[in-house]
């Protein structure tokens, strides 16, 4: 059965998938660029595991999980940064520490409250094709908030990411900027998981940035490429879900990876 592309996008859930997917994708891919360059690329993944634990804790105490998770995840992200500075370990190791505690904590709590409560699982496996209208508004609002912040603090973020010491010398408070980046990431992870699930959030934080590093010719260009890759992946992935009858989330990730592969090969060929 063939329907035209116009008919395809007339379905409201398809529209919501495109809109939320694009906003969340752009948001995560831009933050992801900064994080990858600071060697905190797995923080999206790590904070997702912490979200799992935080949401389990929230459900355990009978509180609305998202409101509970946000401060917990923010604190965890700050803790990751502090661990990196004080405990003589690198960023990725600190992430691993916090991430495994979050995951195990969640498993423990889930089992104490007798089993994986299904609402817990649904927080993890967000479904991009089943996004509600309110979740779409949430994605747009969150994206705009974070993107405006990044725009206003572009040079601070750029400078600190490039070389922290130099940034300090030019009068930028790099501690505060690092903290801000990590807190924005925490909020983004918690809210985006609800909308598109852990798998997509983790990959949005890494794949577009890594692609940008292959083919961009400047920092502004890298940001732009990251965002563009995220957008193209979302659109292609959802289309693949229809035209090829494949699961949308996984398709987005695979397309993302294929784009990375092409850009890598193109760069090698140059």
């Amino acid at each position: 059965m063939n329907i035209s592309f116009l008919e395809f996008i007339s379905y409201s859930f398809v529209q919501r998938a495109f809109i939320s997917g694009i906003f969340v994708g752009v948001l995560c891919s831009i933050l992801g660029l900064f994080l990858v360059l600071r060697k905190l690329s797995l923080i999206g993944d790590g904070l997702s595991h912490v979200s799992f634990g935080a949401i389990a804790m929230g459900l355990f105490f009978g509180l609305y999980p998202i409101y509970f998770a946000i401060p917990v995840v923010i604190l965890s992200s700050i803790f990751i940064v502090k661990l990196t500075h004080k405990a003589k370990i690198y960023g990725d190791t600190a992430i691993g520490v916090v991430s495994s505690v979050g995951l195990a904590g969640g498993v423990l709590l889930a089992s104490i409250s007798h089993g994986f409560n299904v609402s817990l699982l649904s927080y993890l496996f967000g479904n991009i094709l089943a996004i509600s209208t309110s979740e779409t508004y949430l994605s747009i609002a969150l994206s705009l908030f974070v993107l405006v912040t990044v725009y206003l603090l572009y040079y601070e973020l750029f400078s600190v990411t490039f070389n922290e010491e130099q940034a300090n010398v030019t009068g930028i408070k790099s501690d505060k900027i690092n903290l801000l980046l990590v807190i924005l990431t925490a909020i983004t992870v918690v809210l985006s998981i609800r909308v598109v699930g852990i798998m997509l959030v983790s990959s949005f934080f890494i794949l577009p940035a890594v692609t940008a590093l292959q083919i961009s010719n400047g920092f502004k260009s890298a940001i732009f490429v990251s965002a563009l890759v995220a957008i193209v992946s979302v659109i292609s992935g959802i289309c693949a879900s229809f035209y090829l009858d494949l699961p949308a989330g996984a398709s987005i990730v695979i397309v993302n990876f294929i784009i990375f592969l092409f850009s890598f090969l193109w760069r090698k060929g140059m």
Binding site: L37, Y155, F158, F162, E165, V169, T170, G171, F219, S221
Partner: protein, 249 residues
């Protein structure tokens, strides 16, 4: 003569380990100071304290006539740190973007780079003869070219004080020559005060007008000519070394 940097009774320790003890000196406008001492003598630490990157345990420091604790005009100081090429090698940034980062210190929130700024950056690049590299990725440049990019960034605000930490280590002889000629020009023609850290005392004698020799405390600070005629210094360094340094002039 205005004092560009004034340090009184500076002390700093890493835990129990004393790095700087009772350091006192002042640098005047237009000085070209060679800061020497063996590895680990506290040179880099001293410079980082002056730049506000590290807090001393005790002491009074003033920079450009102001108390360091209250100093905020960082655009008046340029800094070229040690081993600049140890920035993240995969970082995607053009030469232009890196140099324009230097302008940030002059700006207030929200910081933006304007068309006028672009001209300023171009001028800095021109000064260092790398204008043709403007749109190249910094990771694609040679060590010497990268050095000039970071120097351009340090100079883009036309600072009154320029601090360099072992800038010539990775450079070949010709590049090093050009580099030092440039520094000379900045010092003599523009009156820029320069502090240059080096462990190669022999070389610095050729360019600097003052020598600050550090070994946890100040062993010597003064005009190069004083150093060369000092019997005390001959005693400390040995006749050969003193001769080596002074012979350059």
């Amino acid at each position: 003569m205005t004092k560009i940097v004034e340090v009184k009774n500076l002390n700093f320790s890493y835990g129990a380990f004393e790095v700087l003890k009772d350091v006192n000196f002042s640098i005047e406008n237009g000085d070209y100071v060679g800061l020497g001492g063996y590895n680990g003598s506290g040179k880099t630490t001293l410079v980082k304290i002056i730049l506000g990157l590290i807090s001393p345990n005790s002491g009074d420091i003033s920079v450009l006539g102001k108390d360091l604790k209250k100093f905020k005009q960082w655009s008046r100081i340029g800094y070229l740190p040690q081993n600049v090429s140890l920035f993240n090698p995969i970082f995607p940034a053009t030469v232009y973007e890196v140099v324009s980062l230097g302008l940030i210190s002059k700006k207030k929130f929200p910081r933006r780079i304007t068309k006028a700024d672009e001209k300023t950056v171009d001028e800095a690049l021109q000064e260092l003869e790398i204008l043709d590299l403007k749109d190249k990725m910094i990771s694609d440049l040679s060590g010497g070219q990268q050095q000039r990019v970071f120097l351009a960034r340090a100079l883009v605000n036309d600072p009154e004080l320029l601090i360099l930490d072992e800038p010539s280590n990775a450079l070949d002889a010709k590049t090093r020559n050009n580099f030092f000629n440039l520094l000379n020009r900045l010092n003599k023609k523009k009156g820029m005060t320069i502090i240059l850290i080096t462990h190669d005392i022999g070389h610095i004698g050729e360019h600097a007008n003052k020598l600050l020799y550090l070994e946890k405390s100040v062993v010597f600070f003064g005009k190069l000519s004083e150093f060369c005629h000092s019997e005390k210094m001959e005693g400390v360094f040995g006749h050969e070394s003193q001769h080596l340094i002074c012979h350059q002039h």
